[in-house]
Structure formats: structure tokens, C-alpha cells
């Protein structure tokens, strides 16, 4: 827990950098470092699989996607003057923030082993997955055995996204 607070501050600082920097290429690289900070926080929370996926897909693939887009388009944020803030943001965001803060009191405490998320069905997977699937990694057992159809059909999502990108970026259509 001692490392967590500096990492959380690093997270907010890198996100602020990605949002505020004018040069879009720099903003994208700072966003990659934000993803790596996020992966570190997740590894610290015990979510190693999520940290791997975030480091590979979030920090790697997303940065490559952003850079490919920027190389084909304009690399600078050309807007010089600050635009007026839309009134929906002025009204809506404080309400949303107050609702989030209001709901914070009902959340289980951080690291609570008896929180509702951890007592209902998750002990079943931890206690029985080795016997039923012979896989020591419980996340792999859930993804590839208990919910394998979900994971399998997720490839259709990726396929659809690839088809959509190919159709959008097709050259020579009127």
C-alpha cells in the first residue's frame, strides 16, 4: 500500500499531461505512459492479467493506432483561442460529480474481503477451478473454460471492428 499513493498521483499527472499538451504526438506518448502507470497500479492490486493486457493492448496497440491516425492527419492542435465551455458541461458535470461523491459512501471499503463482490460466487471459482479445469491461474480458467463462449464470440467483435475500419478507410469510393 505504500507505493500506491505515488502511483495514483502519477496516474492523474500523466492523464493531465495527455489532456493538456498541445502537440498531439506528445499527448499520445504521454497517454502511453499513463497506460503503463495504470498497468503498474493493477499489478499492485493483484490483477496481473489485467496489467499484462493493459501494457500490451492499452500502452502498445492504442499508441500505435493513435500514431497511425496522426501520421495521416494533422499533428498539431490548431485551435489557438480557448473555445467557450458548453453549458451542458457546466451544468451536467458538477451534478455527475456530486452523484459520484454521494454514492461513494455506500461502496465497500478498499481491500474488504467480505465485500459483496467477493463473497457470492467468486470463492467457488477459487476453490474448485484447479480440480475442474487443472489450471492454476484462475483468471485463465474463468476466461477459457467457464466463459469460453464469451471469449470466443469476442473475436467476432474484433472481426467486426476490423471490417468496419477497412470499409471506412477504403480508398477511391465517392
Amino acid at each position: 500500500m505504500t507505493f500506491e499513493l505515488p502511483l495514483l498521483i502519477l496516474l492523474v499527472v500523466t492523464a493531465a499531461g495527455a489532456i493538456m499538451v498541445k502537440d498531439l504526438i506528445s499527448a499520445v506518448f504521454i497517454l502511453g505512459s499513463y497506460s503503463f502507470a495504470l498497468a503498474l497500479v493493477w499489478a499492485l492490486l493483484g490483477a496481473v492479467d489485467v496489467a499484462f493486457v493493459e501494457a500490451v493492448v492499452g500502452a502498445g496497440l492504442a499508441t500505435v493506432f493513435f500514431l497511425l491516425t496522426l501520421f495521416g492527419t494533422n499533428e498539431k492542435d490548431t485551435h489557438i483561442r480557448r473555445p467557450p465551455v458548453p453549458w451542458t458541461a457546466i451544468v451536467g458535470l458538477p451534478i455527475l460529480g456530486l452523484l459520484l461523491l454521494y454514492g461513494a459512501g455506500d461502496l465497500p471499503a478498499f481491500g474488504d474481503a467480505n465485500s459483496p463482490a467477493s463473497i457470492h460466487i467468486s470463492p467457488f471459482y477459487l476453490e474448485n477451478s484447479l480440480e475442474q479445469t487443472a489450471t492454476p491461474n484462475v483468471v485463465t480458467a474463468v476466461l477459457m473454460d467457464y466463459r469460453s463462449f464469451d471469449t470466443f464470440i469476442e473475436t467476432i467483435v474484433i472481426f467486426t471492428a476490423g471490417i468496419a475500419c477497412a470499409l471506412i478507410l477504403r480508398k477511391g469510393d465517392s
Binding site: 500506491e4 496516474l11 492523474v12 492523464a15 495527455a18 489532456i19 499527448a27 499520445v28 497517454l31 499513463y34 495504470l38 497500479v41 493493477w42 492490486l45 493483484g46 490483477a47 496481473v48 493486457v53 493493459e54 493492448v57 492499452g58 492504442a62 493506432f65 493513435f66 491516425t69 496522426l70 492527419t73 494533422n74 473555445p83 451542458t88 458541461a89 458535470l93 455527475l96 459520484l100 461523491l101 461513494a104 459512501g105 478498499f110 481491500g111 474488504d112 474481503a113 463482490a117 467477493s118 460466487i121 467468486s122 477451478s129 484447479l130 492454476p136 491461474n137 484462475v138 483468471v139 480458467a141 466463459r147 464469451d150 467483435v157 474484433i158 471492428a161 475500419c165 471506412i168 478507410l169
Partner: protein
């Protein structure tokens, strides 16, 4: 009010989630540059996943990879694996939506020659 403040101080994860979520939504609504809007979208998506993963942590527990070969496992010693399994799926879907929206942005740039929302709206008039 003091009670609410105390609950917030005990949950630094939630404060970071709220800051990133609201800031990302603000950038998505207010910033005129399309790529910056997508950076805001990415920050919103990752903040929500961050919020979900924070539920899986247990005090004094290790990663959900079983250390023993015997069948008896105490669930209190391992982090909750279900949010991890669900968020791994969510990260991949997030990248799929991000890829499609970046393709749309470059198609818009090809047609209008600009990434700026105001200039595009000007040309559309």
C-alpha cells in the same frame, strides 16, 4: 459532511476514478480537436475499468494464481478473479471501439482537411 470526507480519504482509488472520469467526459464534450476527444474517451474507459478492478483487491491477498497442488484453497488468500476476467474482455472491446473511431477521424480528415470541430462545422454549413 465530515463523514463523507472521511469515507473519501479512505478510498483514494475512488477519488482518482472520479477525477479521471469527469475530466475525460469534460474533454469529450468541450475540446474542439477530434483526437483530443478520443484521448478523453480513452481516459474515461480506462478509469471505469480501474474502478472495477479496485473491487477485486483483498487485504493481504495475493494474485489469483493458485500456489498449491492440493484441492483445498482458502478464497481469502487470493484476489477476486471475476473482475479481472471481465475487465480483460472489456479492454479488448475498448481497443476495438477506439480503432473504429480513429478510422472515422482519419476519414473525416480526408474529406474536410481538418481535425478541428469548428472548422468542420463551418464547412458543413
Amino acid at each position: 459532511m465530515g463523514e463523507l470526507l472521511q469515507t473519501l480519504i479512505q478510498r483514494p482509488n475512488f477519488i482518482v476514478f472520479a477525477i479521471l472520469f469527469l475530466w475525460g467526459i469534460y474533454i469529450m464534450t468541450a475540446h474542439p480537436n477530434l483526437v483530443k476527444k478520443l484521448i478523453g474517451l480513452y481516459i474515461v474507459q480506462t478509469s471505469v475499468i480501474f474502478f472495477l478492478v479496485a473491487f477485486s483487491a483483498k487485504e493481504g491477498a495475493t494474485v489469483p494464481i493458485l500456489l498449491t497442488d492440493t484441492a483445498s484453497v482458502d478464497a481469502l488468500n487470493y484476489a477476486n478473479p471475476l473482475p479481472h476476467a471481465l475487465t480483460v474482455t472489456a479492454i479488448v472491446v475498448q481497443i476495438a471501439t477506439l480503432g473504429v473511431s480513429l478510422a472515422l477521424v482519419s476519414a473525416i480528415y480526408r474529406k474536410f482537411g481538418s481535425l478541428d470541430e469548428d472548422e468542420i462545422l463551418e464547412q458543413l454549413k
